[in-house]
Symmetry: none
Subunit: 121 residues, 2 copies
DNA sequence: AACAAGAATGAAAATGATTGTCATTTTCAG
DNA sequence: CTGAAAATGACAATCATTTTCATTCTTGTT
């Protein structure tokens, strides 16, 4: 991994959870790191190839990245104000693995999100 | 559903499996149906809102659509070929309601998807 | 140090899916 | 028929991502 790769990874570790390439870039610029958006994209591609980060997709199709081995969790999101609570997956972790195994899938991952309206709204 | 919505749905049913908006449009034009790409996008959005079609994402982020039954269910999707199995949520239905209730959320919904690589790939 | 080869960088342009705009056409109730 | 409302589609705009390409850093060699 080269220097910019290390800085990207460090930023991704500090923001916690998922972040898009543009968000990572904004965070680095805000923190005084000098880096171009192109380099962020290239660095992320390299980190993916090295299996250091994961890539997923937001609902709108934007790519989001996270450090592999980050603590796995899920979200409970308010549809009105966006307030978000991080929650444990509990039994759905087992569910995902069992269903995938039942149909012969490997390299299994999953996404799950609960949405509703929070008590403040 | 309006006329173009029905034609889009009919096309999507005939191609089978997943198709992107652009693929659906190309198929319709090829088959002599006269429709604009914009209308295909709008029709698909309407069909999604009516829970008649599902939207997912290819690895490259392009949106793909497929006809979907009304009954609530989840998907097990192959990251490589897109093969999809409809599965029951099982225990995660309870999990979603319990977590939401625990944090005082109402009008609760959820999404959950398992992805991996199927036995053919 | 001087030099060259190759990798890394980033600004700007290109790409491509999706969405927004708006003038025109179609539908339909009165 | 007539006007209002909905639907349509060509075109422009948006936005994430990729490509290009000229410039700058690295690194090893003489
Ligand atoms: Zn709220
Ligand atoms: Zn989980
Ligand atoms: Zn497959
Ligand atoms: Zn469910």
């Amino acid at each position: 991994m080269n220097k910019s790769g290390e800085r990207i990874l460090s930023t991704l570790e500090h923001v916690g959870g998922f972040a898009s390439a543009q968000e990572i870039h904004r965070a680095m610029v805000r923190d005084g790191k000098n880096i171009g958006l192109t380099t962020v994209y290239r660095g992320l591609q390299a980190l993916i190839k090295e299996n250091i980060v994961d890539i997923l997709r937001r609902d709108d199709g934007e790519a989001i990245y996270r450090v592999c081995g980050d603590a796995h969790h899920h979200h409970l999101v308010c549809k009105k104000c966006g307030r978000t609570v991080e929650i444990e997956g509990g039994e759905i972790e087992k569910w995902a693995l069992q269903e995938a195994a039942h149909y012969g899938f490997r390299e299994v991952g999953h996404s799950a999100e609960i949405f509703g309206i929070c008590s403040n709204c």
